[in-house]
């Protein structure tokens, strides 16, 4: 039934592909070009935009979203979504703030002041715990990811508000005599002039990139996100992978929470509200498909920088925050639109680096999954 020659003809680059090289380049590198355009435009509009100092300031803002987005990318690659990261960020910050005030053990009559590294580890474990709840709900009890993480989002936010009665911990500095100073390092210290938050983002991105590209876990993640049933039949531990991505996303959220409260020198229970949406936007702008299996760290980082540099630029040139919201939304819509365009081109030109299944099989199979797009890995 298969006519191989016909299939060949289809898969050879068609003539119209040739003239479209520039368009193709622009399309595939769209997040990168968007970033360049943003930098150029704002540099023209404002004399303060194009400077090392401003870039470092903006980068430390981006760090928060970038770290959340890397965790979110793992979840989205798996075909899921994690709406709880913003609340987890807030909860982790509040718990860190609480620990920095000292833990009073009434029955022993002592007050414990854990050192900063212990605080950080506990906050990360808390993030992992929240992620574990998400993962178990989704993988074990088959709760849809959207609903499970929505519920956990509310619970984490509520807990953060309960812990502080809605107030904010302002005293995070610690005292030298108690040995718990150094919390502000995450927000203010610089390594070779680069803010710690940006360094942490770089490290997390590097680890993420290695995990995705060079380890069995990364391969399992791409496979189970692309087709869970096929992955399972190939011996991939799909449940373990699914739980792991939510745990990792929770840890990323906790790290972001530590950095944010250090930058702000305060830990408030409402910190990180709606940050999960910004993280999802960064991942989508970075070319990942919400249907899973397509996306990479590089794109996601670019997506985070596009959002961060855009909104900071709008602040610098003095546009009202209401307009900022409109612009950010427009960029997201445009990104998703381009993802869809890229997907359509891919299915027409299967010879390019990526491609959807061509229609050859559709006679037999269910309609192909309309994955929305991808970035070349």
């Amino acid at each position: 039934m298969t006519d191989v020659s016909q299939a060949r003809k289809q898969s050879s680059p068609s003539a119209r592909g040739e003239g479209f090289d520039l368009a193709k380049l622009l399309l595939e590198g769209r997040a990168f070009f968007a970033l360049i355009v943003i930098i150029v435009v704002f540099s023209i509009l404002s004399p303060y935009y194009l400077s090392v100092a401003n870039f470092l300031t903006m980068a430390s803002h981006v760090a928060i979203f970038g770290i959340l987005a890397v965790g979110m990318l793992l979840v989205i690659l798996n075909g899921g979504i994690d709406l709880s990261v913003g609340s987890t960020l807030g909860l982790a910050g509040v718990v860190a703030g609480f620990l920095m005030q000292g833990v009073t053990l009434t029955w022993l009559g002592v007050v414990l002041y854990p050192p900063v590294w212990v605080v950080a580890v506990i906050a990360c474990m808390l993030g992992a715990g929240v992620g574990l709840i998400n993962g178990v709900l989704i993988a074990r009890f088959k709760v849809p990811a959207f609903v499970a993480t929505l519920g956990v989002m509310y619970m984490a936010r509520g807990l953060a508000l309960l812990m502080t009665s809605g107030l904010t911990y302002n005293n995070l500095g610690g005292k030298p005599e108690l040995g718990n100073t150094g919390f502000d390092a995450l927000g203010f210290n610089r390594l070779f002039g680069v803010p710690t938050g940006v360094v942490v983002l770089a490290v997390i991105a590097l680890i993420g990139s290695i995990v995705l590209n060079r380890t069995a876990f990364g391969r399992w993640l791409y496979a189970s996100g692309g087709n869970e049933r096929a992955a399972e039949l190939s011996g991939v531990p799909v449940k373990t992978v699914q739980v792991s991505v939510y745990v990792l996303s929770g840890i990323c959220a906790a790290i972001a929470g530590l950095i944010l409260s250090s930058q702000l020198t305060s830990a408030g229970p409402t910190a990180g509200t709606t940050y999960e949406l910004t993280a999802i936007a960064a991942v989508v702008i970075g070319g990942a498909a919400l249907t899973g299996g397509r996306g990479n760290i590089r794109g996601t980082l670019l997506g985070a920088f596009v959002i961060g540099f855009l909104s900071d630029g709008l602040v610098i040139i003095g546009i009202s925050s209401y307009w900022q919201t409109v612009f950010t939304g427009a960029v997201i819509v445009l990104a998703v639109l381009l993802n869809a365009v890229q997907y359509r081109r891919r299915s027409k030109l299967p010879s390019s680096t990526g491609g959807q299944p061509t229609s050859q099989q559709r006679g037999k199979a269910e309609p192909a999954n309309p994955a929305q797009g991808k970035t070349a890995r």
Partner: protein, 513 residues
């Protein structure tokens, strides 16, 4: 629509005709220039094996899909249907092979779905209920119109599907496998309804795998094979043997059982395995089945749709739970192990639906091929790219995948080559037993032969091979032993020298005198 007067062809007593219909899905030609007539007021049966193109042709005639090229002639005029409701408005309706009911709605709502009866202010539920009840009475089925479809058993759901098609007063009614879930009594009633309809001038197209049954009811027989019509005759001039001969055709050489090697010990032992239907009806799709396969042996499992082949293979591979019994791999019970553990022990499955269960479409050919054997190229925590490349290249060579290379996207391959990737992926794990569920589904005959040649080579090296098929020709190729499944049990076992008629008789498809 072309002007009727100038080009209308002579179509005799045909009410609806297909002329030179070609249907291509990408590179696959499902239909290659088919001419097909539906005779007015008669039953025309379309015979053909799975994948011959029967359902595709029916979807074209009922407006569900538009053909790549070719004409449809209705009452002597060229027509083209924009949608299935367009075709329905012209009096053509279809009962699909796969049920297309909304399980969450009632029988009444399903029957009137998309063409609800209206009053001035809303829906005329009373009239809908009355008509639904009348249809159920015609079909001698005691179903309340308000029953939810999900609460009906499969056969009753099929009755609802039939009732829906009857409710529109069609002139032409296409029935694609209407009886596959019906009991003998229900089939009798359906046949009575069909005779009643034809006597009122309705033209019927009938498709069934139950050849004898179809021969009882039909007036005309048309045989489709590999997307082309191979024979047409009036029912009174033909017999079952004629149908089988034309359906199956001349044997394309798919190989013969490999010889010259001794079978080893029993590699796979299926002991008293039962599998309960996944939809929760409590029905045993596999019913206390036992089967031994020895190393180096190739066993073919033949059976009709719903015989339990897929469920058996998936239960043995760990995809579906066993309700009873166990599976032993070289004497070791693997029934409690995960799929991954079974793969590690050497028991692998090539699933039936390669798009849904076999391939990861977002990955390259190479990554698909290496997916099941990641441990083989892992160095500590990390994957060795060079070792993976070697493994992939070796695999592409061994299973003869025609591809630009390991980095090509899986979607750029033809169906046959995609199937080779799925098989290659499992063979790369060096299994002891390979189960293949309809490995030839949707691939061309050349690729089929290559797949079988590959399997017989591996069998000669000691691999135990179990493959299932619904095409008789394939049983009579490389299999040393043919096991026929019927209603979850083994109904017969044959050696390689069995005849097509014997095999088909044992499956319940045809009892050839």
């Amino acid at each position: 629509m072309k002007p009727a007067a100038e080009t209308a062809p002579a179509t005799g007593d045909a009410v609806l005709s297909a002329r030179n219909i070609v249907m291509s899905y990408g590179g696959v030609h499902a239909l290659k220039g088919v001419n097909f007539d539906i005779h007015r007021g008669k039953v025309t049966t379309l015979f053909g094996e799975n994948g011959a193109g029967k359902s595709t042709l029916m979807k074209i005639l009922s407006g569900v899909v538009t053909p790549t090229s070719g004409d449809i002639v209705l009452d002597g005029n060229f027509v083209s249907f924009s949608s299935s409701s367009d075709a329905r408005d012209r009096g053509i309706s279809i009962i699909h092979q796969e049920l297309s009911l909304a399980p969450n709605l009632s029988v009444r709502d399903n029957i009137f779905m998309g063409r609800e009866l209206r009053t001035r202010t809303g829906l005329d539920f009373a009239e809908e209920s009355r008509q639904a009840r009348a249809l159920m009475a015609d079909l001698e089925e005691d179903i309340d119109p308000m029953t939810l479809v999900e609460d009906l058993r499969l056969g009753q759901q099929q009755i609802v599907e039939i009732a829906r098609a009857l409710s529109v007063d069609s002139r032409i009614l296409i029935m694609d496998e209407p009886t596959s879930a019906l009991s003998a009594t229900e089939v009798e009633v359906l046949f009575k309804v069909i005779r009643d309809l034809t006597s009122r001038g309705v033209s019927i197209v009938y498709i069934s795998h139950h050849l004898e049954e179809a021969l009882q009811i039909t007036d005309y027989a048309v045989v489709l094979r590999d997307g082309a019509i191979t024979a047409t005759a009036e029912a009174r001039d033909i017999d079952l043997e004629w149908i089988v001969r034309n359906m199956v055709g001349e044997n394309f050489d798919l190989g013969s059982p490999p010889t010259g090697h001794e079978f080893g010990e029993v590699a796979l032992s299926i002991e008293d395995v039962s599998v309960i239907d996944a939809s929760g009806s409590g029905y045993s799709v596999v019913d206390h089945l036992s089967l031994d396969v020895r190393a180096g042996e190739i066993v073919c499992i033949y059976g009709l749709m719903g015989a339990g082949r897929t469920e058996l293979l998936e239960a043995v591979a760990g995809r579906m739970p066993m309700a009873g019994g166990r599976a032993l791999l070289e004497g070791e019970d693997v029934s409690r192990l995960s799929i991954a553990q079974r793969i590690a022990k050497g028991l692998v499955l090539v699933p039936e639906d390669r798009q849904r269960d076999g391939l990861v479409q977002t990955m390259t050919v190479g990554r698909n091929l290496s997916l099941a054997s990641i441990e083989a190229f892992a160095k500590g925590l990390f994957l060795s790219r060079s070792r993976e490349r070697e493994l992939v290249e070796d695999s592409i060579r061994k299973v003869t995948v025609k591809t630009a290379g390991g980095n090509a996207m899986i979607g750029s391959l033809s169906g046959g080559n995609q199937q080779k990737v799925v098989i290659g992926k499992m063979l790369t794990t060096n299994p002891k037993v390979i189960l293949l569920d309809e490995p030839s589904r949707g691939i061309d005959v050349g690729a089929k032969a290559e797949v079988f040649r590959l399997l017989s080579e591996r069998a000669a090296q000691g691999l135990a091979v179990v493959f299932s098929t619904s095409e008789v020709n394939e049983c009579l190729s490389i299999a040393h032993r043919i096991v026929v499944m019927r209603r979850g049990r083994i109904s017969a076992e044959f050696g390689a020298s069995a005849t097509k008629e014997q095999i088909m008789a044992a499956s319940g498809e045809a009892v050839v005198a």
